[in-house]
């Protein structure tokens, strides 16, 4: 079956695919659909321009050149930072957006557009945490109390997905795929809930379990991609409290109404480990499925047998 409208673009360090199948029984308004898809892709571009840790011209990088001064930022950056700090507080720092310099030091510093390493030349003066970032919602400013580099990798892509989904909502049935994270609107072209396989964390090419979703985001954090350079044991999900790669989970999948929530919670639960991670998800009324490195399975109550 040829999907009605599907495009793939390389953005935010991965491939973004949007498929809009539209409402059944109605002739597709192709120009409206194409325009909405262009707007949807544009949100990824805008969020990337605001939140990209690898681009010296991004708003995020310009923010990190100002220490101790309130910096007025765009709404996109403000929302992403505000949400990341809220999750940091919720998790006692198991999730922490101030981890940027440690990511950079661990070798996660390549600009995907050129493959070249990027170094900010920022120097850490001792450990930093989310408590070193202050917000003023009335003035919409962000203040960095100490030299630090924000990493919004676990938030920005979700935000872009949610904004793109708003553009596509009038078409009811659509899918947004951003490098393993998804938002599924309505139903698939066969008129059924979208089926989403969860990638097997240890068997390449295999699916470990399948979910049926409609009007929800599905985001997965795993230890099997974005390995540390040099073939070491590390992956990109560092525990901000220790600086070491988190070891309790192999794969965490979260289903939630918004992708920014699902994305951040998946990362946070991954760091917290299966037991604490599961209670985090339940507290936020999100559904989730966790596999440990030994493939032990943990699921929230909402994940029921069909």
């Amino acid at each position: 079956m040829k999907a009605a409208g599907t495009h793939t673009v390389a953005l935010m360090g991965t491939l973004i695919t949007i498929e809009v199948s539209g409402r059944p029984g109605r002739p597709p308004d192709e120009s409206a659909r194409e325009a909405a898809m262009a707007r949807a892709f544009d949100w990824f571009r805008r969020v990337e321009e605001a939140c990209n840790r690898f681009d010296g011209a991004s708003e995020l990088r310009r923010l990190s050149t100002c220490i101790g001064t309130p910096v007025s930022v765009s709404g996109l950056l403000y929302e992403a930072v505000q949400f990341a700090l809220a999750v940091a507080e919720e998790t006692g720092g198991a999730f922490d957006p101030t981890i940027g310099l440690r990511m950079e030091a661990a070798g996660f510093n390549r600009d995907y557009r050129t493959g070249q390493p990027v170094n900010t030349a920022l120097v850490a003066h001792g450990p930093v945490s989310y408590r070193d970032v202050r917000l003023d919602s009335a003035a919409r400013t962000v203040t960095l109390l100490r030299p630090l580099l924000l990493d919004l990798g676990a938030v920005a892509k979700g935000l872009a997905i949610d904004l793109a989904a708003r553009e596509l909502a009038p078409f009811e049935n659509f899918a947004i795929y951003a490098g393993g994270d998804l938002y599924l609107g309505g139903h698939n072209p066969a008129g059924e809930p979208w089926s989403v396989g969860i990638r097997h964390p240890r068997e390449p090419g295999q699916v470990i379990e399948t979910l049926l979703v409609s009007d929800a985001a599905v985001c997965t954090s795993g230890d099997y991609e974005r390995r540390a350079p040099g073939g070491g044991p590390g992956h990109h999900l560092l525990d901000p409290r220790t600086g070491a790669p988190a070891a309790g989970c192999a794969s965490v999948t979260v289903v939630a109404p918004a992708a920014m929530v699902a994305d951040a919670l998946a990362t946070a639960a991954f760091v917290l480990g299966p037991a604490e991670g599961l209670s985090l998800l339940e507290n936020h009324e999100a559904d989730g499925l966790i596999f440990t490195p030994a493939l032990e399975r943990f699921a929230t109550g909402g994940m029921q047998d069909e």
Binding site: M37, C66, S74, D111, G197, L212
Partner: protein, 213 residues
């Protein structure tokens, strides 16, 4: 198969939508329903503990793009940005009211057959390149892909996947351009997994840039 609790999440979404409708439109609040509601959604999806997330009236994300890199003035980086105008309630108008994401006039974004579109707006700082469109091949365990890189004024203005000859593999199915995939033989619509690092794409872009020097 597991029904991923979507009934539950759908109920939550409806509840959030209802809260959204009740929320008074703050003066000077967001103009763009898209920006206004998505973050608000997750604000309300946090438990009451995170009160500072819920407290302020919809902080209006300015939908203006970041000014060009030249404005490296440290403080008030967005001072030059258009300020959010009047409040528009969350009417589901598909067309944003104000300086919304401009429907990109560049036809490359909506090219039907080839999955090609401009990838990046900002540019890396250092080297300058010859203007033109350059191509390079990258190889990964899934197969080969060709990247195109467009250079204008010595800077990268777009990079995209020009061709993709990828062996079918279920774990990357959803990442592949649709012409390659077409849901052949698999029995799921999409696969969710950790973000692929698109190494082949890096490599192909690097190869293309070699030709631009």
């Amino acid at each position: 198969m597991y029904a991923a609790g979507f009934l539950r999440t759908a109920a939550a979404a409806n509840r959030l939508a209802a809260m959204e409708r009740k929320r008074p439109a703050a003066p000077g609040a967001s103009l763009n329903p898209a920006v206004a509601t998505a973050p608000a959604k997750l604000r309300s999806s946090l438990p009451p503990a995170a009160t500072h997330v819920q407290a302020p009236p919809p902080a209006a994300p300015a939908v203006a793009p970041v000014p060009p890199a030249s404005t490296s003035a440290p403080v008030a980086t967005s001072a030059a940005l258009p300020v959010a105008v009047a409040a528009v309630p969350t009417t589901p108008a598909p067309v944003p009211a104000a300086p919304a994401p401009v429907a990109v006039p560049d036809p490359a974004v909506v090219l039907p057959p080839a999955p090609v579109a401009p990838a990046v707006a900002a540019t890396p700082a250092a080297p300058t390149f010859k203007d033109g469109i350059f191509y390079g091949w990258g190889h990964c365990r899934h197969g080969d892909l060709q990247a195109s890189v467009e250079i204008k004024g010595g800077k990268i203005v777009a990079s995209a996947i020009a061709q993709c000859f990828t062996r079918y593999s279920q774990d990357v199915i959803a990442a592949l351009p649709p012409e390659v995939v077409q849901r052949q033989s698999n029995n799921v619509d999409w696969v969710s997994g950790a973000t692929e690092s698109s190494d082949a794409f890096f490599y192909a872009v690097g190869e293309a840039l070699k030709q631009a020097k």
